[in-house]
């Protein structure tokens, strides 16, 4: 697996002649099995970047290449986990998870076994025949993760997958994401607006800056690797962890201030 983001720019032309430079010259290479977290103030183009990777948007210039071929639209090789609302309520948990294989026409028996296994892995062994709307938000995200894994994608794209969860559930789910990443060896790109989450769930961390959306700074971090085996709270107590967190926080803080300042000037 290789993923190349090559000089991607995205400009939205709004009615009235205004245009927004959501991304400008973003380039990045991902190795197989990497865990990348992306952080940045809101409006810096994170979702736009992810949508381009998923193939939902075509960049105005530049291109994405997965395993050497150019990405032109959505495909099962790139799985997606949304913040919420993407499960199919008319299917039970099992049917949701088996959706991808079923669409491909995979044999029913194999699919059933795979679904069973995945649901056990994400800790939903007792909820296989429940309706999705009967589940809590955290459980729904577990279903979404399992559904994505059932397709065995090369890359998993997650847009603030834990953003709608309460703090306690979120902490548990962070552990689950790490576990799944390690066990499946998948390449994962995860967007978050929580600095701690970005530190915990990123071997590599990109901090993006707005207007135009671009990569501001990149970190290589040891916490994800550590978190696989240790308690996440223990990892957070690391001095290095809090120092990096503070550094990134003030970086984002400054960006936000700058946005505010610009807004005030133009007002």
């Amino acid at each position: 697996m290789s993923l190349e983001i090559d000089n991607v720019s995205m400009r939205f032309d709004l009615p009235g002649g205004v245009s927004v430079q959501a991304l400008k010259d973003v380039s990045l290479n991902l190795k197989s099995g990497e865990l990348l977290s992306v952080l940045g103030p809101s409006g810096c183009g994170k979702t736009t970047l992810l949508n381009i990777l998923a193939g939902f948007l075509a960049p105005t210039s530049g291109e994405i290449r997965l395993n050497g071929h150019r990405v032109t639209g959505p495909d099962a090789e790139r799985g997606m986990v949304f913040q919420q609302g993407a499960l199919f309520e008319w299917m039970n948990v099992r049917e949701n998870v088996g959706f991808g294989p079923r669409m491909k026409g995979a044999p029913a028996k194999e699919t059933a076994e795979l679904v069973d296994h995945l649901l056990d892995t994400v800790g939903l062994g007792d909820f296989k025949d429940k309706s999705t709307y009967e589940l809590s938000g955290g459980m729904q995200q577990r279903v979404a993760l399992a559904r994505c894994l059932a397709n065995d994608p090369d890359v998993i794209l997650m847009d603030e997958p834990l953003g709608a969860l309460d703090a306690l559930t979120r902490e548990k789910m962070q552990g689950l994401v790490l576990k799944l990443w390690k066990e499946t060896g998948k390449t994962v790109i995860l967007i978050t607006h929580s600095v701690e989450e970005a530190l915990l769930l990123g071997e590599r961390l990109l901090v993006m800056a707005p207007r135009p959306g671009r990569i501001h700074k990149e970190y290589q971090l040891p916490f994800a690797e550590r978190g696989v085996n240790a308690d996440l709270r223990q990892v957070k107590k690391d001095k290095n962890f809090s120092e990096t967190r503070d550094e990134i926080l003030s970086m984002i803080w400054e960006m936000e201030e700058e946005i505010m300042g610009r807004a005030e000037q133009s007002a």
């Binding site: 998923a54 495909d75 913040q83 199919f88 309706s131 999705t132 709307y133 559904r147 994505c148």
Partner: protein, 424 residues
Amino acid sequence: MTGLSILLGYILLFVVCFGVVRAITARRKINDHNSLMTVTFGYESAVVPNRAASVLSVLVIFLIWGMFTNSSLVPISVPGPFVGNAEFTYTAKNAAGETDDAKVVVLVHEPDAENTDAPEIEPGDGFAKSDGYAMQIWRSKLLKVQTNDEGGKDDSYQVIAVNGQPIAPDQEVATDFGAVSMTSKGTLNVKPKEGLLMQPLYLPSPEAVVGRLGDLMAEGYKNIGLFEHIGYSLYRVILGMILGSLVGIPLGYAMGLSGWARGWFDPIVEFMRPVPPLALIPLVIIWFGIGETGKIVLLFLAALWIMAIAARAGVAGVNISKIRAAYSLGASKAQIMRHVIVPNSLPEIFTGARVAMGVCWGTVVAAELVAANEGVGMMIMGASKFSQTDIVIVGIILIGIIGFGIDVLMRVAENKLVPWKGRA
């Protein structure tokens, strides 16, 4: 008078029931969430229907209905019309200026009374002769009392008093049984008290309606069984609904999925939507006649726009994340249509179908009122022409119950088929 007293009685009973239930339940201490709330005004969830009120409300309706129709099911009854012999004396003045008294006896009887003959009265002395008459309750009767009087045909002969009280044209004298008035031409008019009871012509008693329901079930109406009438109406609604859905849902999907279809059909749908189906009846009759075709076409049109708009809303309301997730899971367009868009639109379509069923039911009854040989609407229209109020009321009650039943069935089906509605 009757209308006003029904209204006042209803308001009175409302207040009394409220007070009584309040007084009874005030002693019981309930500790549920609502009763522990210190602020309930304006909290929607705090307003739970009081079931006692619902039961009492229905009882009160039947009580008032029975009270004002002299029902044997209800122990009390409002005063009825005067029945029996209405007696009074009149004083006449003849051409010579002499006066004389005579007696009048009017038998006021029920329409179906055995004895409806005018009582025989001794003419008595003097030139004014006593008279006997007969009349039905709830009517008034003109009495030409002078026809048998000596000299009664003279122009200057006139009645000058009733029960000793002077009377002149356009005046009225109150009596123990009601009133006697004089027309502008000098004729006496007896008006026995009407009481507060409703005439069966206006409102038959509950038992009369139930009895008529039994007759209708046994014998049918106009040689067609009652259930056949209902069946005809339901058949029209269901066929109209099916046809309307068969065209409307695909039309709505097309409008939800294609910009061209949306643009093309939007003006038509948006124009037809606010046109009440009843307004189409004349045109449909002109085009298709009063037969079955016209009614089906009308119901088809009634359902069509509602279903199209519901299907359009169902497609438009799909969460973009669901579509994107499906694409990312490798689904093709056809698979997304089949597994995401269609199921996702079902709750909206069900809502539309419920509305459409209600509209169709109302429309079919109205269409049958206008022209039909069978159906519930035709039944009440036909009955109304012959003042068979009990049949009209049976029909109205049936229409209400069936309409309600349809909605309940639709809701049950909705809970079964789209249980995620409103919970996603």
